[in-house]
Symmetry: C2
Subunit: 147 residues, 2 copies
Amino acid sequence: MNQKELTQHLKQVKTLCTSQGARLTPQREQVLSLIMRSKKPLTAYELLEGMRQEDKTPAPPTVYRALEFLQEQGLIHKLESLHAFVGCNHPEHPHAGQFLICTDCGEVNEVCNHELDKSLNAVEKNQGFNLQRPVIELLGRCASCQK
Amino acid sequence: MNQKELTQHLKQVKTLCTSQGARLTPQREQVLSLIMRSKKPLTAYELLEGMRQEDKTPAPPTVYRALEFLQEQGLIHKLESLHAFVGCNHPEHPHAGQFLICTDCGEVNEVCNHELDKSLNAVEKNQGFNLQRPVIELLGRCASCQK
DNA sequence: CCTAGAATGTTATAATGTAACAATTAAAAT
DNA sequence: ATTTTAATTGTTACATTATAACATTCTAGG
Ligand SMILES: [Zn+2]
Ligand SMILES: [Zn+2]
Ligand SMILES: [Zn+2]
Ligand SMILES: [Zn+2]
């Protein structure tokens, strides 16, 4: 995400937070901004490093708290298989993410496949399971890296 | 898994390993045995603790090596969202696991849903993605815990 | 202003995972 | 059977990821 897109995104996100009575403080915004600008998912400690370059020297809880907030607001997703975080491009309606993760170039692509959703619903129904948080992370090689 | 089932499972597994030219050494068998006997997924350090009760005092690399071997042989699965390991009941034909994980009671249920598989294949095809390791972990409440 | 709750700062530590190299053991070759 | 080789295990140290606990500061609402 480039500077212009970022500015636009942050404006949207601020509106969104305000409407929810959630406070997108400067620190939280800084963490979000670092994540959105990155081409790759970032770990908590990479974010800490990023914050240090722009700012003072925050301690781990600072960044973990910001990450918790951003997840609650649906502004970022955590990738369990990478211990890293990516921004969400469609935070306006809450959703669980489905991710294609390239193990070669590190690119992460958030998809939204309704067939997959249906299958998950079917599993839920079959098993009498109440699904609350699906973790769908598809690791492999992206189209470019196969060439 | 009870003692009788375990014995039976270990016998099968030994045959399987032998046929692959893989060596299920006593340590590896001990780790597998701890995992299969447990009702809940176990973390590496819980396994270390378990090994210490039966044996000497192994260091972390010991258990991580055993876990790596067991995963390679398809005898166990790692749950990324829990940093923990569960046994596989169908190691005879290799597969990626699909898991229902109850956040109340901790029970983990490995399912094998072909609709879900199809959806994954469709995503692969649509995106030109070469899927190598799907991580499918469905967190929520199991049927019993909803009552 | 005053106060209550939210957010942040700070220190310490817990939990998870790996690098590097030495010692041992088991398989394979001679 | 002995030698050679590769696989496995032991050991130490450390890297990475994450949280508990408590103090301080800030902010919104009365
Ligand atoms: Zn999203
Ligand atoms: Zn790629
Ligand atoms: Zn399995
Ligand atoms: Zn349950």
